[in-house]
Subunit: 142 residues, 4 copies
Amino acid sequence: MDLFSIGQKVLAQQPFSKLLGTELVEFSAQGAVLKIPIRDELKQQFGFVHGGVLAYAADNALTYAGAIGLGVEVVTAEFKINYLKPAQGDFLLARAVLVNAGKTQAVCRCDVYAVHAGGETLCAVAQGTIAKLARAAADEGT
Amino acid sequence: MDLFSIGQKVLAQQPFSKLLGTELVEFSAQGAVLKIPIRDELKQQFGFVHGGVLAYAADNALTYAGAIGLGVEVVTAEFKINYLKPAQGDFLLARAVLVNAGKTQAVCRCDVYAVHAGGETLCAVAQGTIAKLARAAADEGT
Amino acid sequence: MDLFSIGQKVLAQQPFSKLLGTELVEFSAQGAVLKIPIRDELKQQFGFVHGGVLAYAADNALTYAGAIGLGVEVVTAEFKINYLKPAQGDFLLARAVLVNAGKTQAVCRCDVYAVHAGGETLCAVAQGTIAKLARAAADEGT
Amino acid sequence: MDLFSIGQKVLAQQPFSKLLGTELVEFSAQGAVLKIPIRDELKQQFGFVHGGVLAYAADNALTYAGAIGLGVEVVTAEFKINYLKPAQGDFLLARAVLVNAGKTQAVCRCDVYAVHAGGETLCAVAQGTIAKLARAAADEGT
């Protein structure tokens, strides 16, 4: 099975990603892109996409980017996110790249865009560590 | 209206928090606690709560903690989260405290626990900045 | 050799810590405390201690806290720091605690105080990951 | 005075940057680059550059990148750094870019390289928030 198909299979196995309507748009050596259609259920009290959705998007895209270097048996160990602009429009695109892969961990970066009639707005940027699941993986990480 | 009631009203205005079933458990000068019942829809492919849910919980609890110092017209400017253990059980508790409040920004910390038959497990820890919404607030943050 | 003596020995082997004048004040199961006398050479252009010194203090104290759970052959994998107040006075105290230790990694938190005639001021808070050095440790981390 | 000259003047006013031997290599709309010659005094116990030096380099370069969008009266509000590889060689280069500038805050990213006979090694990546100093600026940040 090619990388993209494997990635789609993993996403389909995440009930939370199904709840949010996430789609895998790209998953190759060049990076990973997730798309999340914006709908009212994903918003906060000011009418913008909830920061938690952007954090989820970044977390998940970072994990995919880490998988490029480590294989798909990975979890996010940690990440940080800076919110730049309110997210509104038709859908989110979370674009992540692998920065560095060691034997058991990878560091990745992600940009989260909101796509709307007027173009794309960079709404958040993230950076984090992805860890390979070991035999005793149930001990650490999510 | 007392602080807790204001907090509940804000939460009720967040469609994404409704989708996740979040409840406000505590909101006082001592801190903020959010509760999220764990259900299958919130999980990832390994059967644990998705990291994105923990990130959402941390983000939202941090915002409440920031509101203690800045008032409820606030958004998360940035945060980081470290995942410690897989989250499973009956519900999540995200407990956040205000560390420092300036005039327009506050720094807060949050611990996310999974509560299960055997007790509580600390699953993630977070730290971040909450920003007061200014007139031109639509420019920055979520 | 007891834990505190081992910690002192490690610190004495760090030329950069010598350059900064760092002293180990506490190193026990309860946490690690580093002290850095404030002198003009450690300041920035506004007359306060340079943020880089606070970041160094946090980084190093976090590493000590991680060593409580993992042993002293450790390095900082990543951390984040929030600056709260300008640091001025007689010396800095960086107090770090172990939050969670897995087999190869630990997550720790640190508070950096400036101590002056009027008492202590919390100047920065940090959170990060400490990694155990493996045989192939030269591959990753600092 | 042109931007680069202003940047050099600021650096010359930072005693800690003098102690570390930091030089400003580039400071333009395209980004900021700081250079730090590697010498024994900057190392840790394993013979590599101390993580605290890399953190300082990232912190300072991020501040310069923020100044591109906000003017030079700025401080670092927060940042996170991931260490990728041990730093050794002749000098460090911290290259930072402005990602987004609002009215009072900017978000920036930084890559820290070690330059040696064999080329460049990416040793750390960072992301953080730079804040404009306000009248009441002495209240917050470093």
